[in-house]
Point group: C2
Chain length 155, copies 2
Amino acid sequence: MKLNPWYVTGLTEGEGCFTISFNYRAKLNVKIETRPSFSISLCKDDLELTKKIYEYFRCGGIRYSRRDRTYKYETRSIKDIMKKIIPHFEKYPLKGRKKEDYRRFKWICEQIYRNYHLNRERLKEIIKEAYKMNPGGKRRYKEEELLRVLGEVKE
Amino acid sequence: MKLNPWYVTGLTEGEGCFTISFNYRAKLNVKIETRPSFSISLCKDDLELTKKIYEYFRCGGIRYSRRDRTYKYETRSIKDIMKKIIPHFEKYPLKGRKKEDYRRFKWICEQIYRNYHLNRERLKEIIKEAYKMNPGGKRRYKEEELLRVLGEVKE
């Protein structure tokens, strides 16, 4: 039986994560790659529920994180995020603090979808917004470092 | 605006907790007090959402846990649990691993509601079921200790 859409939003409020990560990519003109991810992490006993989330969204995949001992449902494709994930949360909106992360995530995904993340100036704005998300989370690079690298890029 | 019932169930799947705790009470014939609790813990930025949960269930209360830096919605009254909490989860059931904790919680609350927890033999069964719940959680007393004390009680 398919999950109720509001149940999926409630579960996301607690266990979901909207993130934008950055990596250095020498081949790119802007040298920095922008990667969106929507995920829901559940404990290792909840594989069946994780599968139901996958069936609900009909995109992304499931992987096991040995470090956290969790199953993670995750979608990284910008097309799937724009066509399946964001429409869900527009129709069945989050109610708590996570709403703010979602709002920034949505804005950034819209920029990526239009390829604005390949433009140096626009990417700066994306990075600034991304670093306001998930304040407690870990980051591979500091915001200042990314902005400094971007400042050295020749266009 | 009132929360959607399925949203409340989804949020509970991630952040909710069904527990039965035990304490020594010399005044009781069985010497052990049985206390049920249903709670949902949210981070300190989610006070507004915690209030909405309170408005949804129309029972229990909100308290701040300085240790965990969370707001906790909690209901401990057996009457409220039987009349408001359990009917919600019967109509909008949990989908994951937490369903098992709920099933045991419901059975124990039914026993308490009938005052069966004041009977030594029945209380033994309640303790055994309670200690199968939330396997990762902390317990003040060991199951063996409670059962041993109960074995010494004269009826």
